[in-house]
Amino acid sequence: MSTNLRKLVVAVSAPALVLWGTLASAHHSAAQFDFGQRITVEGTVKEFNVTNPHTEAIVTVKDAKGTRDWRFEGHSASHFFRAGYTRDMVNVGDKIAILIAPRKDGGDGGFIQAFTVNGKTVGFGNLSPESGKPLDSANATGSSAPSGN
């Protein structure tokens, strides 16, 4: 549990872990991710919430820095299902490999571009999280402002 989480528990007299999987997307925007880069992160699924407007996943990652939870965002539930996601495809405790657009600030986390779990892969075809369209095409319009989710 992070320091921030402990503060939260004190503030509202309730463990806040339950909130990991719900509201993050409402406060986030894709502007914080670098869609020009891709990295793959492997770990164990702690939470995998396919929700709107954005999906959120918590994955426990072990690397040289130690063991910790990374938080990922992804496309909406609609895009997940249309990309081939099915209910119960991902469960707590599953080993997962996630291809992400990393955070611009270098922090733990990123925007999900594809993932493989239990031998099945779901990919989002390089879709922009803002327009839902292929990034090259979306960029071609020169639009500087987010046009959607």
Binding site: A14, K133, A140
Partner: protein, 267 residues
């Protein structure tokens, strides 16, 4: 010679029958039926169709329009906040450009075309014909009030009562804006049925000239709308917090502000 009762009755009956036939033919002309599920259509090799929802550069903005965009940009913060991340409707006309690439459902009846965008369950009701809400009873909203009529095989929809504000791409429109849309059926080279869509936004406050959008919709291949209920997450989060409180033997009295605090603490 005075008409007999039966002659009068016969005359009335014949007149009524003629009127009834006229009424039937007037009520059921061969209008196109847009009912079904639709998604964005691109011509082969065509990039994203841009219009009002496209680049801000090039729009014929008044000075007030430019200032409105500058002021709004100052409110978006470093994360470039946008309404969809807060589960807010896209609004007319942007919603018709299918931002985010989600499908549309059209449900057509003689006196109403209902348009539901998958995201946010954003719903438009276009009232067709004589039955209209009086102007003084129309509540301004992001989708406004839409009144439709047929011009031949084209459904022409006029939308007013829009809120002064910005769409998802930051484009402003005032509460004096009017959007006129034209819906008609067409086909692509392979004979697939398409909807041809055009919209013209006229706004004397923020634009010096009308702004136009044109695009086409094609049938949705997988044929289903997926439920999209993101505002519900706030309620479930509040319940989660209260459930934890109750589990600890405390009163379940967390507030929505606590949900927001929890999120802030995690960022």
């Amino acid at each position: 010679m005075p008409l007999s009762f039966s002659a009068v009755a016969k005359a009335i009956a014949v007149t009524a029958a003629v009127a009834a036939c006229a009424a039937v033919s007037a009520a059921e002309p061969a209008h196109p039926d847009f009912t079904g599920l639709w998604t964005g259509h691109r011509e082969p090799g065509q990039g994203r169709v841009s219009g009002f929802g496209g680049p801000q550069a090039g729009l014929p903005l008044t000075e007030d329009g430019k200032k409105r965009i500058e002021d709004y940009n100052k409110l978006l913060g470093p994360e470039r906040a946008n309404p969809a991340a807060y589960c807010v409707d896209y609004g007319v006309p942007t919603v018709m450009e299918l931002p985010g690439g989600y499908p549309l459902e059209f449900i057509q009846k003689p006196n109403q075309l209902t348009i539901i965008y998958e995201v946010e369950n954003e719903t438009r009701r276009v009232y067709i014909g004589e039955r209209q809400l009086p102007p003084e009873k129309r509540l301004p909203s992001r989708d406004g009030y839409s009144e439709g009529h047929w011009e031949g095989e084209t459904l022409v929809v006029k939308t007013t009562e829009l809120l002064d504000g910005q769409d998802q791409a930051g484009h402003p429109h005032s509460d004096k804006a009017t959007v006129v849309e034209r819906f008609s059926l067409t086909k692509d080279d392979k004979g697939t049925k398409l909807i041809s869509y055009e919209a013209t936004l006229t706004d004397p406050v923020y634009y010096t000239a009308p702004v136009k959008i044109a695009r086409k919709y094609e049938p949705l291949a997988d044929g289903f709308i997926i439920p999209y209920r993101c505002p519900d997450e706030f309620w479930y989060s509040l319940l989660d917090l209260r459930r934890e409180q109750v589990k600890e033997g405390k009163p379940g009295n967390a507030r929505m502000s606590d949900v927001y605090k929890a999120r802030e603490a995690l960022e």
